[in-house]
Amino acid sequence: MTEKILRTPLYDAHVALKARMVPFAGYEMPVQYPTGILTEHTWTREHAGLFDVSHMGQCLIAAESFERAAKAMEALVPADLLGLAPLQQRYSQLLAEDGGILDDLMISRSALPGRLYVVVNAACKEADFAHIAANLPADVKLERLDDEALLALQGPEAEDVLAALNPEVRDIPFMSFRLLDIAGIRDVHVSRSGYTGEDGFELSLGAADVVKLWNTLLADARVKPIGLGARDSLRLEGGLCLYGHDIDTTTSPIEAGLQWSIAKRRREEGGFPGHDRIKNELTSGLKRQRVGIRPEGRLPAREGSVIQNAAGREIGRVTSGGFGPTVNGPVAMGYVDKAHAAPGTPLFLVVRDKAIPATVVKLPFVPNRFKR
């Protein structure tokens, strides 16, 4: 059976910009525009990059009260959702019974009463929505937002660009959102968040309006369209996990270094899948953990490359690896045992039968510049 490949509402806009379109998570998406990944990456670090991420899954969790919705979702994720202030957003993970990660996601306390707004990964969205819906109590419902598009505007000039359309965006703190009129479009969900390590915004709005907003933003000389290729190199340098690569059903949030996303109350009280494993990993330590790795020289070590200790014994695999344009050299992430996880530990990465000397480094590779 061949599944029909989907398109976002911006498909024609990407083609008009001469993007190279590739299949990704069931969608035809732009991997790069004619200037190429290096230029797009650097532009986003220095100016403002505009990304179409409408393939991602958006939904509402609806109940009679915020507390009811938050409590229902707390049974599936380890984040403190009851502690969400209005218009606040948190990063979390949908967990399996054994503490493995089914997906990572963003959860906001909606401006609408009794609603949480949730964004999940494109490749996981059908499974996520089915999993969430199946595990909600009868009085809490999942409402898909299939007619909503999603843009990301990222980079040090993103705030100035968006403020030219509505100055109130300057007042949005990191990991919060506002409903704002932007370019004549009412109630755009503008959150201060992203996946590049830079300051920036994510904008959710009706599919019918997204072409207008896309064109308005691109009309600003500080903004260029950025494809999935640079999205990947930017998040890798930013030390951010990519689901299906750096995190999956075999990794726990603690192994992945995501313990910052699990509040004290949840660690102590539990009430989410995998609490035993997570509690255990937090108290008695970890068998393995995600680390950053800098290979010497210029040769990138890709996902799947064997990680060896100084004695040449295999101790793990690279989960994401490539060339970091801002670092101007190869960068990688992978899992190693505790004995090899300290920054400065010498390792080897095996690329085409050659053992490349490498060093464990602190993540991120490029300092995050979130507006806190």
């Binding site: 790069q32 990944i37 290729g229 040769l299 060339f323």
Partner: protein, 122 residues
């Protein structure tokens, strides 16, 4: 001799029994920004259709195949030092390697420019 092309997107020119080999403009465009080139050792014996070099773009690693049997007699160290040359001048200054041809009959059947352009759908 004029330039010939393979279905693996290499170009080849021959002078005095030595083939100069690179990748086509089409191949370079498909690769995107090249950030690393792994060239073979001089003196290495290569076989038609087998890996001779590797180009790494930001996205992925891609093999460059030897278009002909022979021995590597020279490699272009300037593309190892400056991989972006592969994008800016793929069919000129960014040649990859020179191969002393072992079996000239393998040149027969390679495409000329018009046939290659048709092959890549230009």
């Amino acid at each position: 001799m004029s330039v010939k092309f393979t279905e693996e997107h290499e170009w080849i020119t021959v002078a005095g029994g030595v083939a100069t080999v690179g990748i086509t403009t089409h191949a370079a465009e498909q690769l995107g920004d090249v950030v690393f080139v792994d060239l073979p050792a001089i003196g290495k014996t290569v076989q038609k259709g087998k890996e001779a070099a590797v180009v790494e773009s930001v996205k992925a690693a891609s093999e460059v195949y030897a278009p002909i049997d022979g021995e590597i007699v020279e490699v272009n160290t300037s593309i190892a030092d400056e991989p972006s040359l592969v994008n800016s001048d793929p069919e000129g200054g960014a040649w990859f390697m020179k191969i002393r041809i072992a079996n000239p009959a393998q040149l027969d059947g390679m495409m000329d420019r018009a046939a290659y352009d048709k092959f890549v759908g230009k």
